[in-house]
C-alpha cells in the first residue's frame, strides 16, 4: 500500500497555566491515495490538534508542534520554508472546518471566498475563478448556484453553508481533504447529506479523505481505515472492517458498545464510565487504565503498539492475548 501522507511521532503542545502541555503525543498515521481514514475520539483526544498540525493552522501563540514529521510524498511539511508550505496548503491538502458559520468570512460573498483558492494556486483571473466557483457550487449541490454566488454566508442554511465550506476546500483541487468534524454543527437529517456528499466527492476525484469525528455511526459507512485516539495517543488503528470485527483496545470496544442500535431497544444506554482525563495530569502508563474494566498493574507502564494482524495494531498490554 503506497502512502501519500505519512505522519510520524507527531507531538503537539498547548500553552497552559502550568507551561506547555502535551495534547498530541507521538501520533503515527498514514493516508493512502484515494482512501478514507476516519480519526475517532472524544473531545480533547487530540484529533483536531493532529489535523491542525498537519495543516499548519494550530492556534497561534497557544499551540505548537513539539516534534515529529509530516511527510507528503516524502517531503516533510514541518520543515518547509513558509512560502513552500503555503503552496501546499489548499493546493494539495484542503481542509473543511467544523462550524462553517465562523469558518467562512462573514463579510465576503461566497463566490469570492471559493474563488480565492483558484486565483492563488491555479493563477486564475478573477473572472475564471468566478466561473470555477460557480462550477464548484453546482458540484457541492447548491441549488440555483448562479443566483447564490454573490450571497453571503449568513444567507445560507447550516447544511448549505457546510457545502460552501467544502467548495472552498476543493477550490484548487487538492489530493487530500481533511474534514474536521464536518457534521457536528448540523442537524441530524443534514448530517447524512453532507457525509454522502463527501463520500461522493472522494470517490469521484480519487481524493484521500481524513475524516475526523467522534461519531462512530459516521465512520461505519464511509471509512476504509480507522484510527482511534485517546488522550493524545493512538490506541488502535487498522482497516475499518478489521477494527469493527475485532476491536482490540478496551476503549475501542467500549466505544462500539455505546452505539445504540435498534436491537437493544428498551435496554439502558451503555456508556463509558468516568471522565476523559485531564491532559495536564494524565495517569502514568496507559491513559485509559483509570476507566478500563481490564486494568491491571502492568497498565502502569506505557503499552506498545501491538500487532493484532499485519495491518491492525492496538496499544494495549492485552492486545496480543498474552500478558
Amino acid at each position: 500500500m503506497t502512502t501519500l501522507l505519512e505522519v510520524s511521532d507527531l507531538t503537539v503542545e498547548f500553552r497552559t497555566a502550568r507551561g506547555w502541555g502535551v495534547a498530541v503525543d507521538g501520533v503515527d498515521l498514514s493516508l493512502a491515495p484515494g482512501r478514507t481514514l476516519a480519526v475517532l475520539g472524544e473531545s480533547g483526544s487530540g484529533k483536531s490538534a493532529t489535523a491542525r498540525a498537519i495543516m499548519g493552522v494550530l492556534p497561534a501563540t497557544v499551540g505548537r508542534v513539539g516534534r515529529g514529521r509530516v511527510l507528503l510524498d516524502g517531503q516533510d511539511l514541518l520543515r518547509l520554508p513558509p512560502q513552500e508550505r503555503r503552496a501546499v496548503r489548499g493546493a494539495r491538502v484542503g481542509m473543511v472546518f467544523q462550524d462553517a458559520l465562523s469558518a467562512l468570512n462573514p463579510v465576503l460573498p461566497v463566490g469570492y471566498q471559493i474563488g480565492e483558492g483558484c486565483r492563488v494556486h491555479l493563477g486564475m483571473s478573477r473572472r475564471a475563478a468566478r466561473r470555477r466557483a460557480l462550477e464548484l457550487l453546482d458540484l457541492v449541490g447548491i441549488p440555483d448556484a448562479r443566483r447564490r454566488i454573490d450571497d453571503y454566508p449568513h444567507q445560507f442554511s447550516g447544511g448549505m453553508r457546510q457545502r460552501v465550506m467544502i467548495a472552498t476546500a476543493l477550490a484548487a483541487d487538492p489530493e487530500i481533504l481533511i474534514a474536521d468534524e464536518p457534521t457536528t454543527a448540523l442537524d441530524v437529517t443534514v448530517q447524512a447529506q453532507i457525509l454522502q456528499l463527501l463520500a461522493t466527492l472522494q470517490a469521484d476525484r480519487q481524493m484521500s479523505l481524513m475524516l475526523i469525528t467522534h461519531d462512530l455511526g459516521v465512520v461505519a459507512g464511509m471509512a476504509d481505515d480507522i484510527l482511534v485516539m485517546y488522550a493524545g495517543r493512538v490506541v488502535e488503528q487498522g482497516p475499518a472492517d478489521d477494527v469493527f470485527e475485532r476491536p482490540t483496545h478496551p476503549y475501542t470496544r467500549a466505544l462500539l458498545d455505546s452505539i445504540c442500535t435498534a436491537d437493544r431497544k428498551g435496554q439502558p444506554l451503555r456508556v463509558i464510565s468516568g471522565q476523559p482525563p485531564d491532559l495536564g495530569n494524565l495517569p502514568s502508563g496507559c491513559a485509559f487504565r483509570t476507566r478500563c474494566t481490564q486494568a491491571a498493574d502492568v497498565c502502569r507502564t506505557l503499552p506498545p503498539a501491538t500487532a493484532v494482524s499485519p495491518v491492525h495494531q492496538a496499544a494495549c498490554h492485552f492486545a496480543g492475548g498474552a500478558a
Binding site: 499548519g56 484542503g94 469558518a103 463579510v107 465576503l108
Partner: protein
C-alpha cells in the same frame, strides 16, 4: 433603502431644530451690543440709525421671535444678511471650498495613517512596533493642539521651509498639507487604538484559519480577511471624524490663515456678527448630520449582516 433614508431625514428635523436653537441662544447670550460693535470702538451712531438697524435685524424683538424669523428664512433656503449687509450664503459660498479641501485632506491623512498604524500594531501585538505606536498615540493625546500647530508652523514652515507657512496662495496640496497634517494628528490616536483593538479581535477568528488553510499569502489574509472585518467598527468613527474634520477647523484655520468657514465663524464671534455665526454653525450641523447618514449607509455595505431596511 429609500424608506430608510426618508425616515432618517425626518428624524433629523428635531435635531436641527434643537441645535439651531442652542446656537441661536448662545449667540443671543453673548455679552455686548452687536450694533455698538458694528459702529466700531469710540464711535456713536445716531439713535434713529441705531433703531433702524435694530429693527432690520429684529434685535428689538424677544429671543423666540428672532429665532422664528431666522427659521423662516432657513426654510426658504435663506441664511439671512449679516450686520455688514453681506449675504451670509455668499460668505459661506466663498469660504466653503477652503474648508472642504482642508477637512478632506486632513481626513484622508488621518484615515490612511491611522488605519495603517493600527493594523501594524495589532498584527504585532506586544511587539516593539506595537509599543512604539501605542506610546506615540499617548504622547499625541497629551500635547495641546495649538502647540503642535505652532511648532509645526515654525519648524517645518519657517525654519526648514518645507511647507508654506500660512495662507492658501500655493493652492492644493502645498498650502494644505501642513495644517491638514496637524488637524489629522489629533484624530489619529483614537483611530489607531480602535483599529488595533479590532484587528486583535479578528486576527484569531476561525475564518482566518480558513484563509491560512487555503494557502493565501499573508498580505491577502491581513488585508482581505482580517482588515476587511476589522473596518466595520472603524468606519463609524471615521465617518464621525469626517464631520469633525470639516466642521472643527476653527482654530487651525486661524493659525494657518486659511479663509475657510472656521475663519468666518472666528471673525463672526469676535465682531459679534450673530447672523454669520448662527448661519455657518447651522450649516455645519447639517453637514455633520448628512455625513452621519452617509456613514450608516456605507456601514451597511461593509457588513452585509447589517440590513438597513430591517428586512432582507
Amino acid at each position: 433603502m429609500t424608506g430608510y433614508v426618508i425616515r432618517r431625514l425626518v428624524g433629523m428635523v428635531p435635531v436641527v431644530l434643537g441645535t439651531t436653537l442652542l446656537i441661536f441662544a448662545a449667540v443671543y447670550a453673548l455679552p455686548g451690543d452687536p450694533i455698538k460693535a458694528l459702529a466700531g470702538p469710540g464711535r456713536v451712531l445716531s439713535p434713529s440709525v441705531e433703531d433702524a438697524l435694530r429693527e432690520r435685524f429684529h434685535l428689538d424683538q424677544p429671543l423666540w421671535s428672532q429665532y422664528g424669523h431666522y427659521l423662516g428664512g432657513l426654510v426658504r433656503g435663506d441664511l439671512g444678511i449679516d450686520l455688514q449687509g453681506q449675504e451670509v450664503s455668499a460668505l459661506v459660498a466663498r469660504a466653503w471650498p477652503y474648508t472642504l479641501q482642508l477637512g478632506l485632506t486632513a481626513w484622508a491623512i488621518m484615515a490612511v495613517v491611522g488605519i495603517s498604524l493600527g493594523t501594524f500594531a495589532g498584527m504585532r501585538q506586544g511587539g516593539t512596533v506595537d509599543w512604539v505606536v501605542l506610546t506615540g498615540t499617548t504622547v499625541v493625546v497629551g500635547v495641546p493642539y495649538f502647540v503642535v500647530a505652532y511648532v509645526a508652523q515654525i519648524l517645518l514652515g519657517v525654519n526648514l521651509g518645507w511647507f508654506p507657512t500660512s495662507g492658501v496662495r500655493e493652492g492644493w496640496p502645498a498650502s494644505y498639507l501642513l495644517p491638514a497634517a496637524v488637524l489629522a494628528l489629533f484624530g489619529i490616536p483614537e483611530l489607531v487604538r480602535l483599529t488595533r483593538a479590532s484587528i486583535i479581535e479578528n486576527r484569531y477568528a476561525d475564518y482566518v484559519d480558513t484563509a491560512i488553510a487555503k494557502g493565501l499569502p499573508h498580505r491577502m489574509i491581513v488585508v482581505r480577511h482580517i482588515l476587511r472585518n476589522s473596518l466595520v467598527p472603524v468606519v463609524s468613527v471615521l465617518g464621525l471624524s469626517l464631520g469633525y474634520m470639516v466642521s472643527g477647523t476653527v482654530l487651525i484655520e486661524g493659525i494657518f490663515n486659511i479663509p475657510g468657514l472656521g475663519y468666518v465663524v472666528f471673525n463672526g464671534i469676535s465682531q459679534q456678527n450673530g447672523p454669520v455665526v448662527v448661519g455657518v454653525c447651522s450649516l455645519l450641523v447639517l453637514v455633520y448630520l448628512m455625513i452621519n447618514l452617509l456613514v450608516d449607509i456605507v456601514y451597511g455595505l461593509l457588513d452585509p449582516r447589517i440590513s438597513l431596511a430591517g428586512r432582507r
